[in-house]
């Protein structure tokens, strides 16, 4: 995704603090849990298996072969590189996600679009994985599903409550677009039982397509058990390593403009569908004493993560002015054409209509 040499030293320190660099690292070594590393959900078990690392393909270029609908022109499933991004509008009944390690005490939930909650199946092979089974149909499962994995462990004198969040969209245009009129399915939903949660608005349009673009104003909320979490540290890192840290206001909000960080070498290499991944991490120290699993703690460290994708802004590759200019040319030529045609047909006689 990005190389260390591209990241400024200040950013490296912050990254190391938040453990973002190690997020999604090869988990084949077992359940080794670094003390402050946040918990991440991703589509692939490790960074090294990402498609561009293995095949040299640009990220997002394997969209059509990602999980979901079969593709006749694609290689067999076992030889297809795993995309970092979920395929939109290609509903897959069984979805599998990977974790970068799980504490012994962990549980997972799925918040469905109809606001019902199910338990997420967690497996502890390697770093851990989570899977969710969705119905391939219209109705209550049509929309955005929030996945949460929460684990708990006391290390030293601190209770670490880690949350990983993932939003997956279950939609097919073939099912119709009635849910677009359901306001509850257009806004991001939250789960109040989750210790710390990042909520981002305006992620998808009314047809459940991701709409986030470079240059957009991003509005985030950080919630602690469903309530605004003021003073939480939010770290944002874009596809090419642009990194920024914010502190939430009294309402637990953070707002910023997403940078443009897609600069192809030549215009011929530009792809409007190029997807970049934006990662969000938030953490908060709570000065609460207590006991968990027989171990006493003096404070609680809550952390949460979430990632989404973004596209190049439309204004990078479209021009309204040129469009209007071409329309004016078309209109002008048509007008001239009609005048010429009328003159050629003009006989000098007026048509008479009998009105008797």
């Amino acid at each position: 995704m990005f190389t260390i040499s591209r990241i400024p030293p200040k950013a490296l320190i912050l990254l190391a603090l938040l453990g973002i660099l190690t997020a999604g690292a090869d988990a084949s070594g077992g359940d080794i849990i670094p003390s402050t590393e946040p918990l991440w959900l991703s589509l692939s078990p490790a960074e090294s298996t990402r498609p561009e690392a293995k095949t040299g393909k640009r990220p997002g270029s394997t969209e059509h072969s990602a999980e979901g609908e079969e593709c006749s022109s694609c290689p067999p499933a076992e030889r297809r590189p795993q995309s970092r991004f979920e395929s939109e509008h290609r509903p897959a009944p069984l979805r599998r996600y990977f974790l970068n390690g799980l504490a012994p005490e962990a549980e997972g939930y799925v918040l469905h679009p109809d606001l019902t909650v199910d338990e997420l199946k967690l497996e502890r092979q390697g770093g851990g994985s989570a899977s969710v089974e969705l119905e391939m149909s219209d109705g209550p499962h049509h929309g955005a599903h929030n996945l949460y994995v929460v684990d708990r462990e006391v290390r030293g004198e601190t209770l670490h409550l880690r949350t990983a969040k993932w939003v997956t969209i279950q939609h097919s245009c073939g099912w119709g677009h009635a849910p677009k009129f359901n306001d509850e399915r257009q806004v991001s939903q939250t789960l109040t039982s989750v210790p710390l949660e990042i909520v981002m608005d305006d992620l998808w349009d009314t047809n459940f397509h991701s709409t986030v673009m470079s240059g957009d104003r991003i509005n985030l909320r950080v919630l602690k058990y469903g309530e605004p979490a003021p003073g939480a540290r939010v770290t944002v890192i874009s596809e090419k390593g642009w990194l920024k840290t914010f502190i939430t206001d009294d309402e637990g909000r953070v707002a910023f403009q997403l940078v443009r960080d897609y600069y192809p070498d030549a215009w011929s290499n530009f792809h409007r569908g190029e997807r970049g991944e934006i990662k969000f991490g938030a953490d908060l120290i709570s000065d609460e004493q207590g006991e968990f699993a027989g171990q006493k703690y003096d404070d609680i460290h809550l952390s949460t993560t979430f990632s989404w994708r973004y596209y190049p802004a439309r204004r990078e590759y479209t021009s309204l002015v040129i469009g209007l200019l071409i329309a004016v040319i078309g209109a002008g030529l048509t007008g001239v054409g009609f005048i010429v045609y009328r003159r050629r047909r003009w006989t000098g006689l007026k048509r008479l209509a009998w009105n008797g």
Partner: protein, 328 residues
């Protein structure tokens, strides 16, 4: 019953049509804001590029489905294609080509431009018979292209390479519905030229050229775009199954030419053809203005499932002539 029939035959079809068009315009352009969605297989131009739509044109889905590889047409995907076509057919047979004359928002805009031109005192334009004959072929060419181009995405023709997905909905890219309809909800984004690929650039440039042509053409010539509309050509394939029919009794026709002069599309056959009973031609939009201006009892009539719903009568003709002048 007789009284109802007489009242219908005396009715001002122009006024009725104006209000029906307005109703359908509101429904298809803004219906989505009222949670109305009639469907995505409509035989009329509710545009899928317009967010507030209450239903959308079948051509979009049809082009999309045409990109299916042939090998997959005999799988579940083929059933989806068939269901889409049958749904379109189900909608179509209800109103036949009156979908164009009464419900098409793009047609309604053209009619409004005609009203504007008339108010400004600018003369209408007409095609000569020879030009009309040549131009009407364009819609069949467009229909063929909107089938063949998407097919070349999913399939290889003569061993040639497949087209890229930017060719996906070629007619939508040049249809003025895509550029004009979103303007009614304040969205000008479709007016832009897309430089992200050569294909997109060419298609969006053509789309904007057509948009300019559409506005001026429709202002100077009644229903200018309908002569080129592939949906009209698509309708014509199924028109014999339509429940709404336009019937002519040639034995009662005096060839006065009123029907031809009233026809927004400029179809000569409506006046000259004395043999055909079903007088719906490929360019007809079943606006039924020809019936309104026909002075011969029972010469032209519209029937729905065999029952006459509107019929030419001398009484109706003279009443309407008293109400308003026939536009020439």
């Amino acid at each position: 019953m007789g009284k109802i029939k007489r009242a219908l035959n005396l009715a001002d079809i122009g006024r009725f049509r104006f209000w029906v068009q307005l109703l359908f315009f509101a429904l298809l352009v803004y219906g989505g804001y009222l949670a109305i969605n009639i469907g995505d297989q409509l035989p009329t131009f509710g545009c899928v590029f317009e967010e507030g739509r209450g239903g959308s044109c079948y051509l979009m889905g049809f082009q999309h489905q045409m990109a299916t590889p042939w090998s997959r047409l005999f799988t579940g995907r083929g059933i989806g294609v068939l269901i889409g076509l049958l749904t379109f057919f189900g909608f179509f047979i209800i109103f036949n080509k009156a979908w164009c004359g009464y419900t098409c928002p793009l047609g309604t805009i053209q009619d409004w431009l005609t009203i504007l031109r008339r108010r400004m005192g600018i003369r209408d334009s007409e095609y000569s018979a020879a030009v009309f004959k040549r131009l009407k072929i364009i819609k069949y060419v467009l229909l063929l292209l909107l089938i063949l181009i998407p097919m070349a995405i999913g399939n290889s023709f003569f061993g040639l390479g497949k087209l890229n997905h930017d060719f996906g909905v070629p007619f939508c890219m040049v249809c003025p519905g895509r550029t004009v309809m979103p303007l009614f909800i304040g969205d000008p984004s479709q007016l832009a030229i897309d430089f992200s690929s050569l294909t997109k650039m060419v298609f969006t440039t053509l789309g904007m050229l057509v948009t300019g042509v559409f506005f001026v053409g429709s202002f100077l010539k009644k229903r200018f775009f309908c002569l080129f509309c592939p949906m009209s050509a698509f309708h014509y394939i199924f028109h014999k199954a339509g429940l709404l029919r336009l019937i002519k009794d040639g034995s009662k026709c005096t060839k006065c030419g009123n029907c031809y002069r009233a026809c927004d599309m400029g179809i000569r056959a409506i006046a000259e053809d004395l043999e055909s009973r079903n007088i719906v031609k490929d360019d007809c939009m079943m606006c039924l203005k020809c019936i309104a201006v026909c002075p011969e009892d029972g010469c032209l009539k519209a029937s729905w499932l065999g029952a006459t719903v509107y019929e030419a009568t001398a009484e109706g003709f003279y009443k309407r002539m008293g109400d308003e002048e026939v536009e020439q």
